[in-house]
């Protein structure tokens, strides 16, 4: 029993970065833009989030507010990079797959370059401490599982219904889905397709950066060049897996990280098994899931990956 509780309470914080980034990517893809640069945006977010508390305190403990300023800066930077990506793929209508790789290299390289200049070496920060919720945290088992986490963990899970509400119940969400499904029809009733896509890219960029900042401030509490370790790419895959729906994406994120915490737990038990194969597991899982759920791709936004050009027919 304790073993299972351990795995689950380990797994929930692990899922946060994937969950937030996937929700952001979902807005991009719902608007018809495939942002493979998610990994790069997360790296920049991880760096910017850590930069503010580091500059203030130099690795020592700083008042909590600076951590949150760091997160705000990271989200701003992420939105800016989303905008940049929009210029390339929305305004210039460049093919999104290859542009996303460019964005990924740009983001990861930028974070590494700036980190070496402004911070340098390996520098850990105190980061954001856990915040047990009063009363709820004392419930046996359930309290340990759900209510003794980092504040951003609660934020991430609150973002799921928020994303659902925004996407399905607000006029803006309707516009996002419209420009991702049938941009021509959306255009004909006066929706500015490219403007909505830009907005979605900025929201997605800010969320990817938030996910990165969560990694550097709450999970790893330091920055390294490979801090994201492919989570950005897994986040993109999770959007397919979750059929572009916030709740299913949450399910996917939890499933993946449970696999990961199971791996840590097995390592902890000291079972003699080459750990490289355990580390591989999530990546193998992505490929298997994408292969068996191939019909799901037909459920995606029909204009996904197609730049909108008002002057062209078809």
């Amino acid at each position: 029993m304790e073993f299972i509780v351990n795995i689950v309470s380990l797994g929930i914080p692990f899922s946060v970065a994937l969950l937030i980034a996937s929700l952001g990517e979902m807005f991009n893809q719902r608007a018809g833009v495939f942002n493979l640069g998610c990994e790069g945006l997360m790296a920049v977010g991880a760096f910017l989030g850590l930069l503010v508390p580091y500059l203030v305190g130099g690795g020592a403990e700083v008042p909590g507010i600076y951590n949150y300023i760091g997160i705000a800066v990271a989200m701003g930077g992420g939105a800016l990079l989303g905008l940049l990506f929009g210029v390339v793929v929305v305004s210039f209508r460049a093919p999104q797959g290859i542009a996303g790789i460019g964005m990924q290299m740009f983001g990861v390289g930028l974070a590494g370059t700036l980190f070496r200049h402004f911070v340098g070496g390996t520098q850990s920060v105190i980061g954001i401490p856990k915040a047990p919720i009063p009363f709820l945290a004392d419930i046996p088992i359930l309290g340990e599982l759900l209510f003794q986490h980092n504040p951003l963990v609660y934020v991430a899970f609150i973002l799921v219904p928020v994303a659902w509400y925004v996407l399905f119940k607000t006029p803006w969400g309707l516009r996002v889905r419209a420009v991702g499904t049938n941009p021509r029809a959306a255009d004909s009733i006066g929706i500015q397709v490219n403007r909505v896509r830009f907005q979605a890219l900025m929201v997605g960029g800010a969320m990817a950066a938030l996910a990165g900042a969560y990694l550097s401030l709450c999970q790893v509490k330091m920055f390294s060049d490979d801090i994201i370790a492919g989570r950005g790419f897994i986040a993109v895959a999770l959007v397919y897996f979750g059929h572009w729906h916030p709740v299913k994406i949450m399910g996917g994120a939890l499933l993946f990280t449970l696999a990961q915490s199971l791996q840590l737990a097995i390592q902890g038990l000291g079972i003699d098994f080459p750990y490289e194969f355990l580390v591989m597991l999530p990546y193998v899982l992505v490929i298997i899931v994408l292969s068996v759920s191939r019909n799901s791709q037909k459920m995606g936004p029909t204009a996904l990956g197609k730049p909108f050009n008002r002057e062209m027919r078809t």
């Binding site: 940049l84 460019g102 290299m105 983001g107 200049h117 194969f277 990546y283 994408l290």
Partner: protein, 368 residues
């Protein structure tokens, strides 16, 4: 629209793109307080100042061009291979395995056999995403990235386990690397005092081979047709999924050969960090070279220069080597955007009208 205007327009757009890219790079260099002009000069000229520098650039040209040639085959067939990094790693493993198994074969058998083994390993790693894309419509962008991470884990597993140098076990320093491979596998270093090896000629030969394959055979024609328009190719009776898979197998095989050559020519054993981003840089080289062998070889030289030059910036101007990744990212983004501008005839027309109407107005004013 005159032909002269059209070429002028294209050159203008490309110059504008280069200026944009360099400005973006300059902004970041300013942000880290570096001397922009000096940094660019160091990256572009410092390596070319002596014999060793030039050969080191050529040394990097070899894997860059081979990987880029493979990526070109895939790209021309309509599939983006970002898994070259993993395919290269697997190629290194298979090359090493063969060299460990048959160390006593004479050079003229061992070298081709080991490189073929590398090609085979890479081809298997390329076949998987190709098959998944052709038969199950799995996006190759995601599957190849995932296979990169899987390959990286396999690589460390083999270097720490089955292929670990016996000397490391007795000495106990624990560096994950294989033993020094058979000397019969060594590619000759043909300039004394430098590391440049005969792999350079293999790279050039492979460039020629890809040119012939893509433009002079019916196979290449069918691949390019499948890439240009899958639907039209299908109506034309081309088995598109089959050519997708073949192109990915070739693409992976090339990455695998690149890995094998790095081992046989440079490192002489499998160690960590051999691939060092060549798989991703290969994408930039392929795009920069216009997806054509005649462009790829010079492009590989240019990026070999950038990569080697970036190693020096840390020491000479205090710019981290990560900057090269930033530049590569910027270059990809600029190339894909520029291509769209060049492919847009309406834009050209509009520019011409604006330009010439203002010129005409200027002339009439002069007359008046």
């Amino acid at each position: 629209m005159t032909k002269r205007f059209r070429t002028g327009y294209k050159i203008g757009v490309i110059i504008l793109a280069i200026i944009t890219a360099m400005t973006f790079g300059a902004l970041i260099l300013i942000a880290i307080g570096a001397d922009v002009f000096k940094t660019y000069i160091v990256i572009l000229t410092e390596p070319l100042k002596n014999k060793i520098g030039v050969t080191e650039v050529l040394l990097r040209l070899v894997p860059l061009s081979i990987v880029a040639l493979g990526i070109t085959v895939a790209y021309r067939s309509g599939i983006i291979n970002i898994g070259a990094e993993g395919q290269m790693a697997i190629g290194i493993l298979t090359t090493t395995a063969l060299a460990l198994a048959f160390p006593d074969l004479p050079s003229y058998i061992l070298i081709p056999a080991a490189l073929l083994a590398g090609a085979f390993g890479g081809a298997v790693w390329g076949f998987v995403p190709g098959f998944l894309k052709a038969k199950l419509q799995v996006s190759e962008l995601l599957s190849t990235v995932m296979l990169n991470y899987i390959a990286a884990q396999l690589y460390t597993f083999f270097l720490r386990g089955p292929m670990l140098d016996p000397a490391e076990i007795t000495m106990g320093s624990g560096t994950p690397q294989s033993m020094r491979l058979s000397r019969n596998l060594d590619l000759t270093r043909f300039i004394k005092g430098t590391r440049i090896h005969t792999g350079l000629f293999i790279a050039l030969a492979l460039a020629l081979l890809i040119y012939i394959l893509l433009w002079k055979t019916s196979y290449g024609y069918k691949m390019r047709a499948a890439g240009a328009s899958a639907r039209a190719a299908r109506y034309g009776g081309i088995n598109v999924p089959k050519y997708l898979i073949i192109s990915m197998v070739i693409s992976g095989a090339f990455a695998g050969i690149a890995g094998g050559i790095e081992i046989a020519g440079v490192h002489r054993r499998a160690i960590e960090g051999v691939t060092s981003g060549y798989g991703f840089s290969g994408i930039v080289v392929a795009l920069f070279g216009g997806l054509h062998p005649a462009g790829i070889v010079p492009a590989a030289f240019f990026f070999g220069l950038l990569i080697y030059g970036a190693d020096m910036t840390q020491r000479l101007v205090g710019v981290p080597a990560n900057m090269i990744q930033v530049l590569q990212g910027i270059i990809i983004l600029t190339i894909v955007a520029t291509k769209m501008v060049l492919a847009n005839p309406y834009l050209m027309q509009r520019v011409e009208e604006k330009l010439f109407s203002s010129l005409r107005r200027g002339k009439t004013e002069e007359v008046a």
